[in-house]
Symmetry: C2
Subunit: 384 residues, 2 copies
């Protein structure tokens, strides 16, 4: 048996218990999970859901997981070490550098500590929301310090793998910088964009949002997130988020300058200087958009596979129950795996457009099969 003590029975701690109950470590030994929480009610819910056994307050274990709020993570680890509760210690804080600095300041035994962060968000909080499959297929960042021992890293790696997560080893700084750009910045950008929709009417008339389309819907989806939760996350990683936000803002200001240079030039340009400035501005705008193309090609859209190599097949359908299912059945009958689906409703009309993301080699065959089946396939959209 590999024994694990989970300190904190929130969403992550309780899900970790549930995930480890039937799991084995790297050597094939089953896990034994002990749970503890200063909140008796949370602990009660976690135990009643079968996330582990109640800890007696003394028994030492193989691995201690500090799963409380990030603000208490370092003191949880320090106190547990002082009591000699574990051979290895880890935590699940969404920001790593701050915890690492704090445990250094508390004179902990750093060789036994390996920071961790399962990237499994978008859920409600608390033990009632916990799920055994919360970590399945998700990256689990592991951030050993220079002082961390191989044994400690190995023990935490096994634990992450046992939950079904994919361990990713990187430094605390790499982690915090990566989540700042990959997770926290998209939230910021989405909120900023949606926020502009409620700006004061600048010309005496409200914004005519009935002209909006699917682009706005996609880019503002994250803006519906919890302000309280995200204030905590953005604050905790402010050291990395703030510079990224600033870089993005300066990129936008440079684009605004270029657009003003273009707009301020009468057509045809009145002087060679004007013409040169307009040409430079046009190049700057295009370069900005090209860099966006390049960045997008780095984004995984499925199982680490990038957007390159996929094609969209778009079909116009009646907007009534069952049409989406019938379309996907038709794709299945043509032996084509649909990687992603976008439904684009048409305002004021009982029709919609469904876009299927499929392997680029399968797209033409799928279009033919759908047309043969009487589906109204739209012309292929330009992938670039």
């Amino acid at each position: 048996m590999t024994s694990v003590l989970v300190l904190g029975t929130g969403l992550i701690g309780t899900s970790l218990g549930l995930a480890l109950i039937d799991a084995h470590d790297g050597s094939g030994r089953p896990y034994e999970v002990l749970m503890h929480d200063v909140e008796p009610e949370h602990l009660h819910v976690a135990l009643s859901r079968g996330a582990g056994q109640r800890w007696d307050g003394h028994r030492p274990v193989d691995v201690v997981v500090a799963a409380g709020p990030p603000a208490v993570t370092a003191s949880q680890l320090s106190e547990a070490q002082r009591l000699g509760l574990g051979a290895t210690y880890t935590h699940v804080a969404s920001v790593q550098s701050q915890v690492q600095q704090e445990v250094e300041g508390l004179n902990c035994d750093l060789s036994a500590i390996v920071g961790g962060h399962p990237l499994a968000g978008r859920e409600t909080s608390g033990p009632a929301a916990a799920r055994a499959d919360l970590f399945l297929g998700r990256p689990w960042a592991l951030c050993p310090s220079d002082a961390s021992s191989r044994e400690a890293l190995s023990a935490v790696w096994s634990l992450a793998e046992a939950t079904g997560a994919v361990p990713v080893r990187l430094t605390a700084q790499e982690h915090d910088r990566a989540v700042a750009v990959l997770s926290h910045l998209p939230q910021v950008v989405s909120s900023a964009l949606a926020g502009l929709l409620v700006a004061e009417p600048t010309e005496g008339s409200p914004l005519r949002t009935e002209l909006s389309g699917p682009g706005l819907a996609d880019t503002t989806r994250l803006a519906a997130s919890s302000p309280r939760l995200w204030t905590e996350i953005l604050s905790a990683n402010g050291a990395y988020v703030a510079p990224s936000v600033r870089t993005l803002a300066h990129d936008l200001l440079a684009l605004a300058d270029a657009l003003e240079d273009l707009t301020g030039t009468p057509l045809p340009a009145v002087s060679t200087d004007d013409k040169g400035r307009a040409q430079a501005a046009r190049k700057a705008v295009e370069a900005f958009l090209v860099r966006g193309n390049q960045g997008r090609s780095l984004v995984a859209v499925k199982r680490g596979v990038r957007d390159v190599g996929f094609a969209q097949v778009a079909v116009t359908v009646d907007d009534r129950p069952g049409r989406l299912a019938a379309l996907l059945s038709a794709a299945g009958a043509a032996s084509v795996n649909v990687e992603d689906v976008h439904v684009d409703h048409l305002p004021g009309r009982p029709t919609g457009v469904i876009e299927l993301l499929v392997d680029v080699d399968a797209a033409t065959g799928l279009e033919r099969a759908l047309i043969a089946g009487g589906w109204q396939v739209r012309s292929r959209t330009d992938p670039t």
Copy 2:
């Protein structure tokens, strides 16, 4: 018969011809469509697709539609008026104010002109890509000037309605400002965010994009758009896009300031001043996120219906052909209409999570039906 002359057989002009062929105007009279293009090959494709008859170069009509590139729109209208070709004139330029100023400068008869813009993008260009259903359910902005006659507006309104579009009347300035924020700014923000992913490694190591999730995928989808096309669009509407981009950039800089104020304050705060500044900064971050919530609630996710009143039901499924179809069939069998679908693949795992957007009143019933059918329903995500 109401006769229409379409000048320009690109995607929009040819689709307009195809859409009007079997349509009737507001008084029930059928449309007769005449096509013209200075490019004989484009014209040939449009005519061979049945988008209308070849214009003889002389015959006057009821409505002239300038459907060439925006740069020539005003001169097309002016020349057509000089030849007395139409009773009413319109165009389809994606930016309205510039064309309106140009036709004023060319001493056109403004009473006969009503600017228009069908919001039906995301397609390839050229007559071969044209479709009769391109405008179906889409907003068609109509921008009469102060000088436009009621008869001219009525004729253009009928034409837009006959294509299946939803006419939306607004001023040229309202239009240009609205599309700047609702369409052009999402493109800019998506490109800027994706562009940061290809930034130079600031700390000697590349960004670890394997930690990314569905939030990044959604917010950078538009970044795959054509740089050439979007350089034209952003330039043409620079007068409205540039200030919006600048406002957004300043909102982001203010957020970065607040995050730095928060991060720069040691915990616990060493002085009352520090504490007050940190509290103000935290409030600013939260207010920024709350404004995003408010803006998101204004975004139509379906047929003008906003995100409020919908709930997400999430199901864990095997990632193999047919599972999505089976799930949607199960929803159909439960008489629940699925408004939208998100597929969230789990990296490295043969499973995925499918999120169904349904009416909030139907969500609990759907969850029960799916659980009864053996589906692995995940706990409800927090909508706010």
